[in-house]
Structure formats: structure tokens, C-alpha cells
């Protein structure tokens, strides 16, 4: 029986075109209205190192890259082995491997079931013969995949034509020949793999973008007209995208000499009245921390996107982790209120970034959007209809407020929010600083003023808390197992909850989008609805669990599932934990009775 949901993974070296191949499949799928997710993984090498690309194509909504790879393409077993332990292959998978790679199959570390299909393929020979170059290996493969697995054939051909349209006619022709050769070869295995043939009703074309791109578009939508950044994986795509688009919308962009300068520049830009943003990763955020405190103290709205990656220092720069949480929440000298948001998928990167600007403008404080490599660099289909979001602009003080002697930049107010002017506004001049200051911005070191100003600055969070408490809840109203997680864990957790429910278990999950100010009431309400609590996070030191403990009376027997990054969270990992907790709670009940 054909399938409506297919997961393919391809492995090769830099020059093998693995990622190009994945991108073409993803685009063809998106064009045909499928739900698509494409995830890349690289070794640390800049060029030529091992790379892998996983593509999931589905006629149903999907939330993850797919746990089990069903079709595996291996150009080189050595490259495949470098990703060992990072993905699970289905027991009955189809493994298409390069015929001329003589590595004994018992050495490749893949123990599959009896139904698995190990199929040697002459990728290299076919490419040479049909296209005259081994470089066309990936295109040959696309032919095989489209014929044998139903990856949209006509659209792949269009994608190839589009890709090579700027090259010489001969190059396009050679590639199309390679593609045809792949199709012909694919006919021969079609019957053997019919259970993995993708069958679906084509629909309207879909948007296909990465979390970093979604953040960048979100920023433009929110009215961001100044971006300053310093390159760092895995955040650089934000800088790249905006280097093209920022001037097109009439804004400015600069690549600064370091992250200190990037942070300084956006504070300057925003002080000057223009919505400003930077994007970085953990090491960059560390460098920005002093000026994060400055923005907090001087009450300047800025947005910082932190795309988390694995490990401290250079760590695992190309892989994901959720270990900047504390840095984002508490990293500061002095008491420096800020807001921390956590997008949970690609589309959410758009929403969270727009919300970040709105909050920053309303509350005049820095807002950190805590994304991670897993959502920032994967590409995913989205529906344009949901991409509507209101935009809040800075409010110009009234003439009355600006009349002679009236204007106080840091006036105490009920909400803690004071009138804010910017250059160009006559009679709005003020001199601000990172020193403690009085209502009119004058430096002071008086304890009483400091106390009152701290109170004012923290008071602003109350408004944020009441207005932005967006949380996601999945599963049963009353559950035996309730999962707390954040950010990119949402996808696998949501899918695990849906699967558990399908099996008849009562399971639910709770995912906050606003991490700070802490959505206390929502968490407490949720905890009342679950019997056993499970925390899921990708941080070795369990930063999220410890954060929760500072605000909540977490049950003593809370089950914490935490591990290091470097491998994306999978549905089966979560499912396994759910099963375990269900078993344990059954035992506990027996003992009680």
C-alpha cells in the first residue's frame, strides 16, 4: 500500500550535492501543496566535509522531521558513519547505497529487520554515462527517487530546469539526461518499494522557509528598519537575508566589527527612533550582555535574536541545544529586566519576532527571542493565511507632555512606562545614561531613587505578563502524564502526545512562548490538570527545570528528561518517556492501595 508520509535522508560529502538534492525535493513538495520539512546536518568542516539532509513529505500536517528514516541514500558509507547515533532508520527501510563503495555492510552499523531492502545503486556510473560527469550523481538520484517513491516528478524536472537555467545549455541538457537515466533505473526497483510510494492529492503551493528567514521577515513586518549584526552560525541567515531586503524597504544594515558593536549600534538606532534588531548565538549574546543592561537601564527598546547552538565556546556550532536559557534570562550586571520569548517552530519565529518588537516598543526594554539551530536552519512549509500580526509603533509624546518644563523622560507612572521622544522631536531633547537617574534623566546614586527606579523598570513587566501570555496546550484536559517543554522541543513533544492519545493514553503538553516574565498563573493552572509531570529539554544541566523550580512548587517526583544537544529531539524519545512514566505511576498506585 502506498504512503501519505515519507521520510528520506541522504548522506554524502560536501561536493555530492546532498543538500541541493534535498532542497529540490522540498521545493517540489511545497509546490505541490505537501507539508514539507527539510533538515540539514553538517560536520564542522567548512567545505567538503560530511553532510546529510533529511526531507519529510506528507499529505498531513507534520510537526517534526520524522523519527524514522524510511528511504536512505548513501553515496559514501564513511560519511554516513559520521552521523551515527543521530538518526533512526526504520526496520523495513529502503537503503540505496553506492554500488562501488566496498565497505562491508556489516561494518556500517545499521541493523535492520528482515523486511529491509538493501539496494546497491550505480550512482556514479549512471551519472558518468548519462550526464558525462559524476557531479550529476544527485540529479540521477532525484530521478530514481521520483520514479520509485513518487516524489513529484514533473516538478523535480522543473526545479532542475530552474536551477540550471542560468548555466550553459549543455549543462542543463546533461543534467536532464542524468535525471531521465535515474527515472529509467528507478523503474526496475519500483515494485520492491511500492509500500513507500508517496500518494497524495496535490494542493495549492506552499511557502517554504527557515526559522532564521521567518525571523527576518517578521522583523521587517514589525517595522524594523535597522539591523546590525556579526556573523555567527547558526544565526547568519538573518544577516544574509536582511542584507538584501533591508535597503529594499528603506532601512539600513551594517555588519559590525564584533557583537559589542552590533549591540551598541542597535541601541543607538533605536534611541534615534528606528526599530532595531540584531541576531546572534550564545557566544555573541555573552558579548552583548553589558549593553543589554544598558538598554534595560536607559529603557531603550531593542530586539535580540539568539539562535542557540550546542555547547559553550565554539561548542557544536552547527548543532542545536537549549542551553542559553539562563544566559538569556539572567545574564546581566545589576538588575536588568528584559523579556524572553521562545518560538517553537519556523512559523513561530515570525510571530515571536513581531511580538518581540511590539513588546519592546510598548515596554521600552530589550526583548530576547530565544530560537535554536533546529528551528532556525530547517526549512518548513507554512500557510500564508496565518501570517497576520498587528504591529505596535512607538508613541510620540503629546505637545502637552513636551511643553516647557513638563517633559520627563523617566517620569514615574502607574505602568512604569514613561513618555519617550527621539531625535527630530523639538523640545523632546533628553540626556540619558547607564547611570542611575532621576525622572528627568539626571545621574544620581541615591539609594532611594535607585530603589524606586528599579521598581519602575520592573513594573513594566506586569503589563507584558498580562498582555502576552501565549501558551500552547496539547492533548487531554485531564492527563495522567503532562509534559512541560519549551522552544523547538514542541514539535516532537506534540507529535508524541498525539500518538499517545491515539493509543488511548491520557497525555498532555504545555509549551509557553513567553518565558519571562514567567507565566505563573498559566503554569499553575496547567499543573492542576496533570497527575505526573515530565519536563523535557535539551540542556545537560536541566536549565529549564531549574528555572521552573524558582517559580513553581514542582512535584517531588517530577520526571526530568534532559540531555545534551547535538542531536535533535525525536518523537520516539518522548514516547518512550511517556510509557515509562505511565508504568511507574501504575506501580505507585498499587503501592498506595
Amino acid at each position: 500500500m502506498p504512503t501519505g508520509d515519507l521520510v528520506l535522508a541522504m548522506f554524502g560529502s560536501g561536493g555530492d550535492g546532498v543538500v541541493t538534492m534535498g532542497e529540490m525535493m522540498a521545493q517540489a513538495g511545497a509546490k505541490d501543496g505537501l507539508d514539507v520539512m527539510r533538515v540539514e546536518a553538517y560536520g564542522p568542516q567548512i567545505r567538503g566535509g560530511e553532510s546529510s539532509c533529511t526531507v519529510r513529505l506528507s499529505s498531513q500536517p507534520i510537526y517534526t522531521q520524522g523519527d524514522q528514516v524510511e528511504v536512505v541514500v548513501v553515496f559514501n558509507w564513511q560519511d554516513f558513519l559520521r552521523f551515527k547515533g543521530e538518526l533512526v532508520v526504520a526496520q523495513d527501510a529502503v537503503v540505496l547505497y553506492e554500488e562501488s563503495d566496498t565497505t562491508p555492510l556489516e561494518d556500517v552499523g545499521l541493523s535492520l529487520g528482515e523486511d529491509a531492502r538493501w539496494i546497491p545503486v550505480p550512482f556514479i556510473a549512471l551519472a558518468k554515462e548519462a550526464a558525462g560527469t559524476t557531479l550529476a550523481k544527485n540529479i540521477v538520484t532525484l530521478g530514481i527517487l521520483s520514479e520509485a517513491f513518487g516524489v513529484p516528478q514533473a516538478l523535480i524536472e522543473k526545479a532542475i530546469t530552474h536551477k540550471f537555467s542560468k548555466k550553459k545549455a549543455a549543462v542543463l541538457e546533461a543534467n536532464l539526461k542524468g535525471y531521465k537515466a535515474g527515472i529509467e533505473w528507478g523503474v526496475g526497483i519500483k515494485d520492491r518499494v511500492a509500500d513507500y510510494y508517496l500518494e497524495y492529492e496535490p494542493g495549492e503551493p506552499r511557502l517554504l522557509m527557515s526559522g532564521n528567514e521567518a525571523s527576518a521577515v517578521g522583523a521587517l513586518h514589525a517595522g524594523c528598519r535597522f539591523f546590525a549584526g556579526y556573523p555567527i552560525t547558526p544565526s547568519s541567515e538573518v544577516l544574509h537575508f536582511l542584507s538584501e531586503w533591508m535597503p529594499k524597504v528603506g532601512g539600513s544594515i551594517i555588519q559590525t566589527e564584533d557583537e559589542l558593536a552590533a549591540m551598541g549600534a542597535i541601541i543607538g538606532g533605536s534611541f534615534a527612533g528606528v526599530k532595531s534588531m540584531t541576531a546572534t548565538s550564545g557566544p555573541g549574546l555573552a558579548l552583548m550582555t553589558e549593553m543589554l543592561g544598558l538598554a534595560s537601564m536607559a529603557e531603550i527598546p531593542v530586539v535580540i535574536i539568539d539562535v542557540q547552538r550546542g555547547g559553550p565556546s565554539t561548542g557544536l556550532p552547527t548543532k542545536s541545544e537549549q542551553s542559553d536559557l539562563w544566559q538569556a534570562l539572567w545574564g546581566s550586571h545589576g538588575d536588568a529586566p528584559r523579556v524572553v520569548l521562545a518560538p517553537a517552530d519556523v512559523e513561530d519565529c515570525f510571530h515571536a519576532t513581531v511580538a518581540a518588537f511590539n513588546i519592546a516598543e510598548e515596554s521600552q526594554m530589550p526583548v530576547i527571542v530565544l530560537s535554536d539551530q533546529f528551528i532556525a536552519q530547517r526549512r518548513e512549509t507554512m500557510s500564508p493565511l496565518t501570517l497576520r500580526h498587528k504591529v505596535v509603533d512607538r508613541v510620540r509624546p503629546t505637545d502637552e507632555e513636551l511643553a516647557e518644563g513638563n517633559y520627563q523622560r523617566y517620569a514615574y507612572t502607574e505602568s512604569g512606562i514613561s513618555p519617550m521622544t527621539w531625535p527630530g522631536i523639538k523640545n523632546g531633547q533628553y540626556q540619558t545614561n547607564g547611570l542611575e537617574h532621576t525622572e528627568d534623566g539626571r545621574p544620581t546614586s541615591m539609594h532611594l531613587v535607585h530603589e524606586k527606579m528599579n521598581q519602575k523598570r520592573y513594573e513594566k513587566l506586569r503589563d507584558v505578563r498580562s498582555r502576552y501570555s501565549y501558551v500552547r496546550k496539547y492533548g487531554a484536559e485531564k492527563a495522567d502524564v503532562g509534559i512541560l517543554c519549551w522552544g523547538s522541543c514542541k514539535g516532537p513533544v506534540k507529535e508524541a502526545v498525539l500518538r499517545a492519545e491515539a493509543k488511548g493514553h491520557k497525555v498532555s503538553a504545555f509549551v509557553p512562548q513567553v518565558l519571562y516574565p514567567f507565566p505563573q498563573a498559566e503554569f499553575e493552572e496547567y499543573l492542576k490538570t496533570v497527575k505526573n509531570v515530565v519536563v523535557v529539554e535539551i540542556s545537560y544541566s536541566a536549565q529549564f527545570y531549574k528555572y521552573l523550580k524558582t517559580f513553581l512548587d514542582m512535584p517531588k517526583d517530577t520526571f526530568v528528561f534532559k540531555r545534551s544537544g547535538g542531536k535533535n529531539l525525536t518523537v520516539s524519545e518522548v514516547e518512550e518517556k511517556i510509557e515509562r512514566v505511565l508504568e511507574l505511576s501504575a506501580v505507585r498506585k498499587e503501592v498506595l492501595v
Partner: protein, 291 residues
Amino acid sequence: MSAVEMIQLKPGDYKTDLKPVWCPGCGDYGVLNALYRSLAKLQIEPWNTVIMSGIGCSSRLPGYVDTYGFNSVHGRALTLATGVKSARPELTVITVGGDGDGMAIGGNHFIHSCRRNMDITYILMHNEIYGLTKGQVAPTTPTGDKTKSTFYGNPEAALDPCELAISTGATWVGRGFSGDMKTLVPLMTEAISHHGFSFLNVMSPCVTFRGDDQFKVMKEKLQNVPEDHDVTSRRAAIYYTREQGVITQGVLYNTQQPSLTDRILELREQTLGDKTPPTTDEIFQAFYPQF
């Protein structure tokens, strides 16, 4: 504002009601006064002007000028100024600060600000010491001098901020002395008027930590740049930065080079021009498969 309505702004109109915290006799008073006069001379609109600073005694200056002002964090003033100017190229942007702030902790930003040649004026108050933290060695302190942090005398070599500015791309470089208003005001006026990154190094004594006689010592070393000095020659300009035993004041270097401020505006003109900017929906179109 039409010319008829224009009110003549006087130096005093640029003052705020905040009293400077500086020690009596500090050189920074002279710099502040020169700034009031230069702003008045150029009739700079206070509401269209931003003065940025880092941290130090000298960095307190923005609080005393009734423009938009920001006394930010140590060493980073130029980064904020770069942001202001990138985001709002039409504003007048002036950065001020100390020699520790600009040459030590902020040295990297200084180099890159010179290189970018944005239309920013940077006024450095050069006192050869860290004033605010009470007298430690600065990158500009002469070798051998005793300071609070060099008990046995400064073991390091000093750098010359003007030399660094000229060699890294600043397009206007001058040196003045806070005890010589007659020279300083025109210099500062010229620096502010310059299109591109202008760097004015003002020798500004710290009477508290460099001794009461720093004014006298500096004044004795003072000489004017010769009238036949070719300000467009980088080599000639460098010559007047490092001479032993003298302080040459005047315009050392003055050229016109493309400024990043212009480039930003040009790019906007090329990509957007008179068109309406794309809507979010139009931007999203770029993410549909393009075949």
C-alpha cells in the same frame, strides 16, 4: 523652520541646567565651552543632534548639552553613534570621551569607525590618564610616568590617537588644546562641518591626577601646524603626530573619501528609490518555489 522664523541660537542656549561634576580646573570645561560655541556658530538644531559618550569624567559631557544625549557604557560610544547615524543619516552625530575609553577598551571600535568614514565627529579628551577611576595608566600615558597602577613607572609605550586615526581611514584629523580657545573653536567647528569621519584630539589636562601643572606642561609643548603643511598628505600628517617634545595643534589631515553614510543612502535610492516598499505579503512571495 523658515529663515525668517529662525532664532539665532547663542552658546548659552545649548546649556542644560545640570552643573558639571568635573574638578575645578579640569581641561574638560574648555572642551565643553568650545562645543557650545561651535554648535552656536554652526546654528546646529539641538533637536536634530545626538551627542554620544562612553564612561569617564569626560564622558559626562552629553549631560551638559541640550541636544539628544547618551552617556552609554565604557568604550562603546562609537558603536552607538554608528547606530544612530546608520538609522538616521540626516542627524548631526557627535561622539565624545576620554583617551582610556576610546583608545583602550574602545580601540577596536575606533579603528573601524575611522575605516567606515561615517559622517560622525569624534572629540577625544586626551589627559594621558584614567580620571574617573582615580588615576591609572592609559594607553596615552608617556613611558616611565608613575600612576596609581604603575608604581614603578609606566613600562609600556604610548600610542598617538591622531596617528591611529590617520592610518585607519579617518578623513579629517585635528589636534587642539583645551587651554587655547582661539584655536580650538574653529577646529571644532571645522570638525563638525566635515563630511565623513572627523577626529579631533583635544589635549585636556586632568589637574587632579596628572598634577596641577599639566596645563603648563602642555602649553609649553604647544606649537601650531606650519602654514605650508599639506593637509591632504597622509605622510605629512603622520609626521606631526609623533614628534618628540612638542604638541602640534591644528588641522593635520583633511581629505574627502566616500563615506558609509553616503553609501547607505545611495543603496536605498538604488533599491527603493521612489517606489513603495514591498509589503510583507510581497516579501513572502520570495519563499514560494520559483519554478
